[in-house]
Amino acid sequence: MKGFSRRGLLTRLGIGAGAVAAAGLAPIHFDAAAAPPAPSGRLRRWSMVIDLRKCDGCQSVGKPPQCTEACIQGHFAPEPMEWIQVYEAPLEGRGTQFIPTPCQQCQNPPCVNVCPVGATFSTPEGTVLIDQQRCIGCRLCMEACPYDRRFFNWGTSPQPAEAMFMDYSPEHQSPAIRGTVMKCDFCPDMARAGRLPYCAQGCPNRAIYYGDLEEDLATNGTEVVKLSRFLAENNAIRLKEDLGTEPRVRFIQGHGELVGRRPTATGRKPTVWPWQKLVQGATSWKR
């Protein structure tokens, strides 16, 4: 999967940057003001590209993976749920790579197919969401998910009391309800408001791109790319493609080489949930 040499990449990046500089093009800039609305009459089709060449498990910043931390803090994700989880997978040869794995937002989602009450469902935008108020806790979806991306509220989840004040919506699942399933919701409400999801915002290396397959654009907060071109030119792949789940999250193969990581530099800091005071009666558990 490493069809792209570092030199070739740098050349292209260099050309891109050089072109911008030399030819007086408008550089990509980010404006905190309200983002342009969705193209009229057309639905967004959210997707994500994670550039593994830039992911080093946050070894360079010496902290637990920041994508996970940002998601936990933004969503009040209960311990021990890592809705985006950074797996450390072995590489061919010697060494490991880090793979930040959110819910893959499958287009043929096994979880949606098996849910007996339709508590987990696909939206027209392509996001797979969970209605915690409908879930009966049978956990068929957890059996069906091949990516280990669904989490159950076995007990009263450790969440901060602030979580209790959030308005309920399947698009941001707080507070957690005991006896129901939760997972990454792809932050479509953030995207509609023109902001990147928490994980993309949190990544110090800007490895996570959030995009729209309908308008064919994606951004990681510092650059905007044409999504289809970005995927093809960087040989993006999907996880467990053989299973036919058709995920919307794609990965560009790598092991953090663009931020100076060697494959043999193993280990990352364990995730922490920084809640000081918890909801009464909360206890954590091991996944």
């Binding site: 050309i15 891109g16 072109a19 030819a23 007086g24 800039h29 983002a35 009459g41 995009g211 071109r229």
Partner: protein
């Protein structure tokens, strides 16, 4: 070697030592000119061709030059010129770049040559008017089988209202599964009709008792 010759050689060496780096710095200073030809309009997502010609100051074509096409696009909070295609000029200095744009409006497509050791950068732009409003990315979740698919009760309102899952026809939600899942309904009805038959026979056993009594 005479003194004059030696001095000349040293001067030449010094000149070269100064001039060559200056010549290198002056590299990429040969002006080039870029022309771009695009169709005036295209529909949304339609693949269009941009014909770009790169020539030097004398009008000679420049082969094997990389041309980038950009368009001013915005996504989430980022906006600027996004690279949408690239191509390489052939022997005649012509590059044909394929591009498609999925944003409506009149966009100024820029062709950019970044320059190299010899030539200077240059750019050119032309406007393309993109029109259309159909949904381009068609996606159906799950497996679609004719006559066998999900109930309307599972449609979620995407307008950002943040409402929980609302069934389109909540009252019908209970009936709909039986209608769209007709193979299962058929199998169940077959079995239960046999049960009904047996229940009828039981009833008749009871009735036959009364006849016997009478």
């Amino acid at each position: 070697m005479s003194n004059r010759t030696f001095a000349g050689a040293v001067l030449l060496a010094l000149l070269l030592l100064v001039a060559l780096p200056l010549a290198a710095l002056a590299a990429g200073s040969e002006p080039t000119s870029l022309t771009i030809a695009v169709p005036p309009s295209a529909s949304l997502g339609q693949v269009a061709l941009a014909r770009v010609t790169l020539t030097d100051a004398t009008g000679q074509p420049i082969p094997k030059a990389t041309i980038l096409l950009t368009a001013p696009l915005s996504f989430l909070q980022g906006s600027g010129d996004v690279v949408i295609a690239d191509a390489t000029t052939d022997a005649k200095g012509v590059a044909i770049a394929e591009f498609d744009i999925r944003t409506e409006g009149a966009l100024a497509i820029k062709a950019v040559f970044a320059g190299d050791e010899r030539y200077a950068a240059s750019s050119a732009s032309a406007t393309v008017s993109i029109a259309g409003d159909g949904q381009l990315y068609a996606q159906a979740a799950g497996v679609q089988l004719p006559g066998l698919n999900t109930s309307p009760g599972a449609i979620f309102s995407p307008a950002g209202s943040g409402q929980a899952n609302v069934g389109v026809l909540p009252g019908l939600a209970a009936l709909w599964p039986a209608l769209s899942g007709w193979p299962i309904a058929l199998a169940l009805m077959t079995i239960w009709s046999f049960y009904a038959m047996v229940a009828g026979l039981l009833f008749r056993i009871g009735a036959a008792a009364n006849e016997a009594e009478a």
